[in-house]
C-alpha cells in the first residue's frame, strides 16, 4: 500500500514533466539509485561498504556496448534478448568473483580491497583496446528498438528505469527474507557462530556480492542506454565516489534511501551551476556530504522518517 502511494505519482510523471526533467533528472536519478541500491544492499545486509559497485555496473554496461550496436566498430552485435541476459549474467558473475576475492575482508579492509578492485578495473578498461576500447571507450551505443519504439526515447526509458527500480527494491526485500538472505545477515552479525553451525561463511558472502552485481549491472545497462556511451570515465574514481555519496546521503542502512540520495545528487549536479559558482561545485557537494555524515549519519531517509514520526505524534492528540 505504502509503495502504491509512491509508485502511482511516479507513473504519472511523464504527463507532467518535459523531456528534460523526465530524462535528465528523473530517469538519471532512478538509474543512479539502482546502482547505489546495490551498495546499500551490501552495507545493510552484509555490513560491507563496497567501492567496487562502479566496476560491477561497468561490467554490465560494457557488455551491452560490446555486444550491441555501437559506432566504434568493436565487438559483435547480438540481438538484445541475448545481450541483456548476458550482460546481467556477467555483472552478476563479476560481483560474485569480487565477493570471492573479498570474502575474508571485514570493515575497513573490505573497503580497501573493493577500492583496489574498482581502481584496477578502471585502469584496465583505460589501457585495453581489444575489449574496452581504452580511453575513448564505446560511443554511439543504441538502446534496443522494440516494435519500432526506441527504449532510449524519454518515456520508454523512464518506465524501463522505474520498472527496474521497483523490481530491484522488491528483489532486495524478497532476497533479504529468503534463507540465503538470512544467512547473509547471520554472517554480518556473527560469522563465528555461522561457522560453528557448520555452514560456510563464504557462500553467503559471495551470494550477496553476486546479487549486488545483478543490481549494479541492471543500473549499468540502463546507464549505457541513457548515456549512449561508456568509457573508462564511467568507472573511474569520480563515479566510484559519486555512488558512495548517493548512498550515504540517502542513508546506507536504507535501500530506498539510495533513490532519495540519487534525486538530491542529480538536482545538485544539474542545478548547482545556478546556485553557486560552478567552479566550486566540489566544495558544495563535499560540504553536503560532510554535513550529512556529521548531523545525519543515517542519511536523509532517516531524517524523513524521524520527521514523519514526529508529525504523527504531533497529530495524534487532535485525532
Amino acid at each position: 500500500m505504502r509503495y502504491a502511494l509512491i509508485v502511482i505519482p511516479l507513473l504519472l510523471l511523464p504527463v507532467l514533466l518535459n523531456d528534460f526533467w523526465l530524462t535528465q533528472v528523473m530517469t538519471r536519478a532512478l538509474i543512479l539509485g539502482i546502482v547505489a541500491l546495490s551498495l546499500s544492499f551490501l552495507a545493510k545486509y552484509l555490513g560491507v561498504v563496497s567501492f567496487a559497485q562502479a566496476a560491477m555496473a561497468g561490467a554490465g554496461g560494457y557488455t551491452i556496448a560490446y555486444f550491441g550496436p555501437n559506432s566504434v566498430n568493436i565487438g559483435i552485435e547480438l540481438p538484445f534478448w541475448i545481450s541483456i541476459p548476458l550482460a546481467l549474467f556477467l555483472a552478476t558473475a563479476f560481483g560474485g568473483l569480487i565477493g570471492c576475492v573479498a570474502r575474508r575482508s571485514r570493515g575497513i579492509y573490505a573497503i580497501m580491497i573493493t577500492l583496489a578492485i574498482g581502481i584496477a578495473f578502471f585502469y584496465f578498461t583505460r589501457q585495453n583496446y581489444a575489449l574496452f576500447n581504452g580511453w575513448t571507450g564505446f560511443s554511439g551505443v543504441r538502446a534496443p528498438l522494440i516494435g519500432g519504439i526506441s527504449l532510449r526515447a524519454p518515456v520508454p526509458l523512464y518506465f524501463m528505469s522505474l520498472l527496474s527500480a521497483v523490481v530491484s527494491m522488491m528483489l532486495v526485500s524478497g532476497f533479504a527474507r529468503s534463507p540465503m538472505g538470512l544467512a547473509i545477515q547471520a554472517v554480518r552479525d556473527a560469522p563465528g557462530r555461522v561457522m560453528a553451525l557448520g555452514i560456510s561463511v563464504s557462500t553467503p558472502i559471495i551470494a550477496a556480492f553476486a546479487f549486488s552485481g545483478l543490481l549494479a549491472g541492471t543500473g549499468g545497462i540502463l546507464n549505457v542506454w541513457y548515456q549512449e556511451r561508456i568509457s573508462s570515465f564511467s568507472v573511474g574514481f569520480g563515479p566510484i565516489i559519486d555512488i558512495l555519496i548517493i548512498a550515504v546521503i540517502g542513508g546506507l542502512r536504507y535501500p530506498s534511501g539510495a533513490f532519495i540520495g540519487a534525486i538530491v545528487f542529480v538536482m545538485l549536479d544539474t542545478f548547482a551551476v545556478d546556485l553557486v559558482d560552478r567552479e566550486r561545485f566540489n566544495t558544495l557537494i563535499g560540504t553536503v556530504l560532510l554535513l550529512i555524515v556529521i548531523f545525519a549519519p543515517n542519511g536523509l531517509q532517516q531524517l524523513v522518517m524521524d520527521g514523519a514520526a514526529k508529525l504523527r505524534r504531533a497529530k495524534q492528540p487532535t485525532n
Partner: protein, 410 residues
C-alpha cells in the same frame, strides 16, 4: 492534475515566446577541476566574438547560456542535453577536449534540429570518420596542429632519428601521427615509442630506456606529466633536444613554476595558437582580449582562440541567413558549409567535405623573453592545412585510425 499540466505547459510556452526573436547559443566548456582555467578562457573567446557584433545579428539578439562539463564525455553530453532540452538553445558551441568532441558528434545525430559547432576539441575521428551532418569544426585536429614540425625537424634541424614519449590515449596518438607523417615521409625514423599512462609521475625508467642513438625526443605529454618527464630527464643527465607536442609547450606549461623550464628553451613545437605571434590580425585580437579581460592571460590561449573562431563562424553564418533558422537550420548549415573568413592568425578559414577546418598552423620555438619569462616565438607559419595533411584524402583514410602502432616507421 490537469491544472498542474496546464501550468507546466504555460511555463514552457512563455519560455518559448520569450526567446522567439532571440537566438540562443549554448556554450559547453570545462569550468570545474584542473581545466577550469582553460575553460574560463574558452568562454572569453566566445564572448569576444559576440562583442564583435555587439550582441545581435540583423536585429536578432544573441543570448549565450553556458554549461560546464568536467572534461569527461558523459558530463559533456549531459550539459548539451540540458542546454537543448531545458534551455532550448539553437546552437551548441563546444566542447573543449577530445573525447567530449567525439561524444557530442554522436549526440548531434540525435538532435537534427540543433547545430553543433566544435569548440577546441581536436580528436581526429570527430570529423574524419563517421562525421555528422550537423557537426562543424572551424579548427583543426591534433594531427593538423603538428603540421610543419616533422619537416622542420628533419630538414632544418637535421634530426634523422627521433624517439617518442607520449601519453597513452587518442589525442597524443593523433599528435604523433601529425609529426610522423611528415618526418617519416622526409626520410626520418622513429625507432621507439614510449606510451605512458596518463598521470604517471615517475618517468625515471622511461628516461633510461630511451635509445642513445636518437637525435631528439618528441614529447607529447600534457601538464604535470610534461613537467615530471622533463625534470627527470634533465636530472638523469639527458641531453637530447626536445620536440614538443601542442599541449607540451603551451603557455600554461611555460607559466608553471619550477626549474624544469630552462630545458625547454629552444625546443620546437607545433601549435595552432601562438601568444607572441606578430601578425597584424593576431595583434588586434590580443588587444581586444587584453582590453576586455585585463586580469586574464597576457594573450588568448589556444582555447580562447578556438572558441572565438567557432563563435565567429556561428555569427557570420547567422548574418548571412538573416537569422533564419527555419527548416531545421537548412539555410544556416548551407551558409556555414560555404563560409570563408579571415581568422586571427591571418589565414582564411573554410571547411572541407567533412565540415572540418582548413587551418593555419605554426612551428614555434621556446625562447626566453627579456623579463626572464618564457614564450613561444614563430619559426614558420603553414597555411591551408587540411585534415589529410596535404595527402590524398582517400590514401590518408586508408591508413586506418591512429593507435599505439599506427603510424610506424622504425
Amino acid at each position: 492534475m490537469n491544472k498542474l499540466k496546464l501550468a507546466v505547459s504555460i511555463l514552457a510556452l512563455s519560455a518559448a515566446s520569450a526567446s522567439a526573436e532571440d537566438i540562443k547559443i549554448g556554450l559547453i566548456s570545462i569550468l570545474e577541476g584542473n581545466f577550469a582555467v582553460s575553460g574560463t578562457d574558452a568562454i572569453r573567446g566566445a564572448e569576444l566574438a559576440i562583442l564583435d557584433v555587439e550582441g545581435s545579428v540583423d536585429g536578432n539578439k544573441i543570448e549565450m547560456v553556458s554549461m560546464s562539463s568536467d572534461g569527461s564525455p558523459d558530463t559533456a553530453v549531459a550539459a548539451a542535453r540540458k542546454l537543448i532540452e531545458q534551455d532550448g538553445v539553437d546552437i551548441i558551441l563546444g566542447p573543449l577536449s577530445g573525447s567530449e568532441g567525439l561524444a557530442l558528434r554522436d549526440l548531434s545525430k540525435s538532435y537534427p534540429n540543433v547545430t553543433f559547432i566544435n569548440g577546441s576539441s581536436a580528436a581526429q575521428d570527430t570529423t574524419l570518420r563517421q562525421s555528422s551532418d550537423n557537426f562543424f569544426r572551424f579548427g583543426g585536429d591534433g594531427a593538423q596542429w603538428m603540421v610543419g614540425v616533422g619537416d622542420y625537424a628533419f630538414n632544418d634541424l637535421g634530426y634523422k632519428s627521433v624517439a617518442v614519449v607520449a601519453e597513452d590515449y587518442s589525442f597524443p596518438y593523433t599528435q604523433v601521427l601529425g609529426f610522423m607523417s611528415e618526418f617519416c615521409a622526409a626520410g626520418g625514423t622513429v625507432p621507439e615509442k614510449f606510451w605512458t599512462p596518463i598521470g604517471n609521475s615517475d618517468y625515471s625508467s622511461v628516461v633510461y630506456a630511451i635509445p642513445q642513438d636518437v637525435d631528439a625526443i618528441f614529447v607529447a605529454l600534457g601538464g604535470a606529466d610534461a613537467v615530471n618527464f622533463l625534470t627527470q630527464y634533465d636530472q638523469a643527465g639527458g641531453d637530447k633536444p626536445i620536440i614538443g607536442g601542442s599541449t607540451t609547450i603551451d603557455q600554461s606549461i611555460l607559466e608553471s613554476k619550477g626549474p624544469f623550464k630552462k630545458l625547454l628553451i629552444g625546443a620546437p613545437a607545433g601549435s595552432p595558437t601562438v601568444g607572441d605571434y606578430d601578425g597584424a590580425e593576431w595583434q588586434a585580437f590580443v588587444k581586444a582580449y587584453t582590453t576586455n579581460y585585463p586580469d586574464a592571460f597576457s594573450a588568448p590561449s589556444i582555447f580562447a582562440h578556438h572558441y572565438y573562431m567557432a563563435a565567429t563562424a556561428a555569427l557570420l553564418a547567422l548574418d548571412e541567413v538573416d537569422g533564419d533558422l527555419s527548416n531545421d537550420h537548412a539555410a544556416y548549415r548551407e551558409a556555414l558549409t560555404n563560409l570563408s573568413f579571415t581568422v586571427p592568425t591571418g589565414g582564411t578559414m573554410r571547411l572541407d567535405a567533412n565540415r572540418n577546418g582548413i587551418v593555419d598552423n605554426f612551428v614555434t620555438e621556446v625562447y626566453e623573453r627579456e623579463d626572464g619569462t618564457l614564450g613561444n616565438r614563430v619559426i614558420k607559419v603553414v597555411r591551408d592545412v587540411s585534415q589529410s595533411l596535404g595527402q590524398d584524402p582517400e590514401a590518408f583514410l586508408a591508413m586506418g585510425p591512429v593507435s599505439r602502432d599506427n603510424p610506424s616507421c622504425p
